[in-house]
């Protein structure tokens, strides 16, 4: 289907089902129960799952396939966000032009950065991309304030021209919409004590994510994707064969920049504001974490990684010591306090510590990320070699 083989069609359908049913799947606990805080089925978080999923899928096309580790990808996300915001301010609050322009602008910026950075490889490439991203961040914060809003960032204002939109009704504020369908609108369905929220913005972002995922599958399976893997496994040999790797890496860089731009545009569409901190290098580091955690070079890995990190960020950071005490109330008092003290540094504000530890463990023991972990577990149970044609991103030279 759609030019995919059976395995990938199934994968795409699986992701499709997960994405459509997410409001149910992420809300397994009834409202008001002790476990309700683990529910992730609220629009804001679900939107972030898919948007960062897109970002990570795009990063994976560069890092997973070519092995070029960019430490400045957030710059493209930021540039895309600013472009989308300006479309909303000048043209219309409809998200279509905003997202289209964000993709194009991010792609052009990636072309410029990539054209320069890809002259070098390895650590130099990482530093160059980092330098570009930090430059963009610093400029957005200081000199470019007329364009970027500096520290305050940008929001749509009442007095913006918006030449395609009609006059706003008195007292109405500009809201991002898709041909009149507001992104913030939600349909709530309550079944028993469960409350499911179906958000327009989430489904718009989800459609974009499915499209991005489909494109990624096509790229992975195309001759172009093959060429990128060849670059990762042995660039020198590629050069000796008479092939120039630069155009391919540059194309991969631009494509992944466009993915980041799409994610940036969607972020603005969901939450109409943008600030420079979106381009800070920690944001670039975050997408690296997501991709590695999920499994670089795999199709589903980056999405998993993005989902896991965003889930932890939102849910784990909400747990505090009172909740911990409730959980371990069944233990004798002394032991309860001891266990709570033991766990406390890892939750709440300390969730970054957990993230860092998990990340280190993954890099040390599971270089293939969660996907590799899943495969290993599956192998244990099946006692059978799994099909070897999965694109696991690891390539061995022919010798």
């Amino acid at each position: 289907m759609f030019g995919l083989d059976k395995k990938h069609t199934n994968l795409l359908l699986l992701v499709l089902a997960l994405v459509i049913l997410a409001p149910f799947l992420l809300n397994p606990f009834p409202e008001g129960s002790g476990m309700a805080q683990f529910n992730a089925g609220y629009p804001d978080l679900m939107q972030r799952f898919v948007i960062f999923g897109i970002f990570a899928i795009g990063f994976n096309i560069l890092f997973g396939l070519t092995g070029y580790l960019s430490f400045g990808h957030a710059a493209f996300l930021g540039v895309g966000s600013y472009a989308a915001m300006w479309m909303m301010k000048l043209l219309t609050m409809n998200i279509i032009p905003a997202i289209a322009v964000s993709v194009v602008v991010a792609g052009l910026f990636a072309l410029l950065v990539g054209w320069i950075s890809l002259r070098r490889s390895g650590i130099y490439f990482s530093i160059l991309t980092l330098a570009f991203a930090q430059m963009s961040y610093a400029l957005a914060y200081s000199v470019l304030t007329p364009i970027t809003g500096g520290e305050t960032g940008l929001q749509p204002k009442l007095q913006d021209p918006r030449i395609l939109d009609g006059e706003l009704a008195v007292g109405a504020s500009p809201k991002a919409n898709l041909f009149g369908l507001e992104m913030g609108a939600s349909f709530e369905w309550s079944v028993g004590s469960w409350l499911f929220t179906f958000n327009v913005g989430y489904y718009v972002a989800a459609i974009a994510m499915l499209f991005a995922f489909y494109m990624a599958i096509r790229i992975f399976n195309s001759p172009f994707g093959m060429m990128l893997r060849a670059i990762k496994s042995n660039q020198q040999r590629l050069n000796y064969t008479g092939l120039n790797a630069r155009p391919y890496t540059l194309a991969a860089f631009v494509v992944s920049g466009m993915y980041a731009g799409l994610a940036g545009g969607l972020m603005v569409a969901m939450d109409t504001q943008v600030g420079a901190e979106r381009m800070f290098w920690t944001a670039s580091g975050e997408v690296v974490l997501m991709t590695i955690l999920g499994g670089a070079g795999t199709l589903i890995g980056p999405v998993l990684g993005a989902g896991m990190i965003k889930y932890m960020e939102n849910i784990m950071s909400k747990i505090n010591s009172t909740i911990l005490h409730e959980w371990f109330a069944f233990l004798p008092d002394g032991l309860e306090n001891f266990v709570v003290t033991l766990i406390y540094p890892f939750i709440g504000k300390g969730w970054n510590l957990t993230l860092g530890l998990i990340f280190m463990l993954v890099v040390i023991f599971l270089p293939g990320g969660l996907v590799e972990g899943g495969q290993r577990i599956a192998k244990l149970f099946k006692r059978k070699k799994p099909s070897s044609d999965t694109p696991d991103g690891k390539t061995t030279p022919a010798e």
Binding site: G67, L69, I116, R119, R120, S121, G122, I123, Y124, S126, I127, L128, L130, A131, F132, Q134, M135, A138, L139, Y141, S142, V143, L144, Q235, Q236, W281, T282, G285, V288, I292, P345, K349, G350, N352, L353, L355, G356, L357, F359, M360, V363, I364, P367
Partner: protein, 343 residues
């Protein structure tokens, strides 16, 4: 003229910090071939060594002083540091006052221990893995170290003052025949620069004039041959990692009075230090030091009002801009060696 001298001086203290961190990074890279993203965290831990020691020195017991009363008329509670009991009030206060310089003695063994544990426990297993993996695992380690420090010391900057003697400023103008007050420079920054120069000199002397240093240099040039000669080069390289950690830590200790330490100070410096290393040339120790001072001074020149008037915002990006230009025109950096990270 005064303005130029002032900017050079201003650049020196930041440049010193860049140079020290870059020196450590290059030591690790040159010996072990590892790109250490956790080096900024080591700088930060050094700074928190100073914080810890000054807190330990200020440990005190509470006594009720009947001769003084607070505003409610109750006897005042007075904190008496244990150091007063041990050395008497005058010496005790002096020790507390000099907490930051004393921390140097405390930080050296701590940092060497941390460095050696880090190398033996973690980095050792990554020699055969690709550079990307090394970057990633040390990046993860940096996050963990940061968060541990944040858990114990909180997220806010902790002011750690320099000794009283160094708190004023030195008037270069009056001393060197310019107008008085035209060039004013805090004493502590002079101390920092002097200290950095001392450390850098010591590291170079150690590598140049001791047998140990000679073996290490030989190992940097050709590890295999040194091993074939029956020298346990791994042990020496581990120690060099400890030394590099100590250099970063000392840079952090002495930086605390200039900038109150917080848990993410290391990361802020790390990004710039990597740029410094790349500009200086991967694996070149003199290059790292030179580039550190050069970029520090360049940054302070770029922040001059006259420059900002016709190139607004240049002070924010000058370092990155220089790095990009250098990398594209001199791919090996200013003093890079041939064959280091060429691919």
């Amino acid at each position: 003229m005064e303005a130029i001298i002032l900017q050079i001086l201003n650049g020196l203290d930041k440049g010193s910090a860049y140079a020290l961190i870059a020196l450590g990074l290059t030591l690790i890279f040159g010996t072990l071939g590892v790109v250490n993203f956790a080096h900024g965290a080591l700088f930060m831990i050094g700074a928190f060594c100073a914080v810890t020691l000054s807190r330990i020195l200020q440990l005190s017991r509470t006594v009720i002083d009947d001769t003084q009363t607070d505003f409610l008329g109750n006897p005042l509670k007075v904190e008496v540091p244990y150091l007063h009991d041990m050395f008497g009030p005058a010496t005790g206060d002096a020790i507390i006052d000099w907490a930051v310089p004393i921390s140097i003695l405390f930080a050296i063994p701590v940092m060497i221990a941390i460095g050696v544990i880090m190398e033996r426990g973690l980095i050792k297993h990554f020699y055969s893995r690709p550079h990307a993996d090394q970057i990633l695992v040390t990046f993860g380690l940096a996050i963990v170290l940061q968060e541990v420090i944040k858990f114990y010391f909180g997220a806010n900057p902790i002011p750690t003052p320099a000794p009283d003697v160094f708190r004023g400023s030195f008037d270069f103008g009056a001393a060197f025949g310019f107008d008085a007050n035209s060039i004013i420079y805090p004493y502590w920054r002079l101390v920092y620069f002097g200290f950095a120069a001392l450390i850098i000199g010591a590291v170079f002397a150690f590598l140049q004039f001791t047998t140990f240093g000679m073996v290490v240099r030989a190992g940097m040039a050709d590890r295999e041959t040194v091993q074939l000669l029956g020298i346990d080069i791994d042990k020496r390289f581990t120690l060099m990692f400890g030394l590099a950690a100590a250099v970063a830590g000392l840079a952090g200790v002495m930086y605390t009075p200039i900038n109150s330490p917080n848990y993410h100070m290391g990361m802020d410096f790390l990004v710039l230090s990597f740029v410094v290393v790349v500009v200086g040339g991967m694996g070149s120790l003199p290059g790292a030091v030179l580039a550190g001072f050069l970029l520090g001074i360049l940054e302070s020149f770029a922040s001059m009002r006259e420059v900002l008037e016709f190139l607004p915002g240049i002070n924010q990006i000058i370092i990155y801009l220089v790095a990009i230009i250098i990398l594209l025109t001199r791919p090996r950096g200013l003093m890079g060696r041939k064959g280091v990270m060429e691919d």
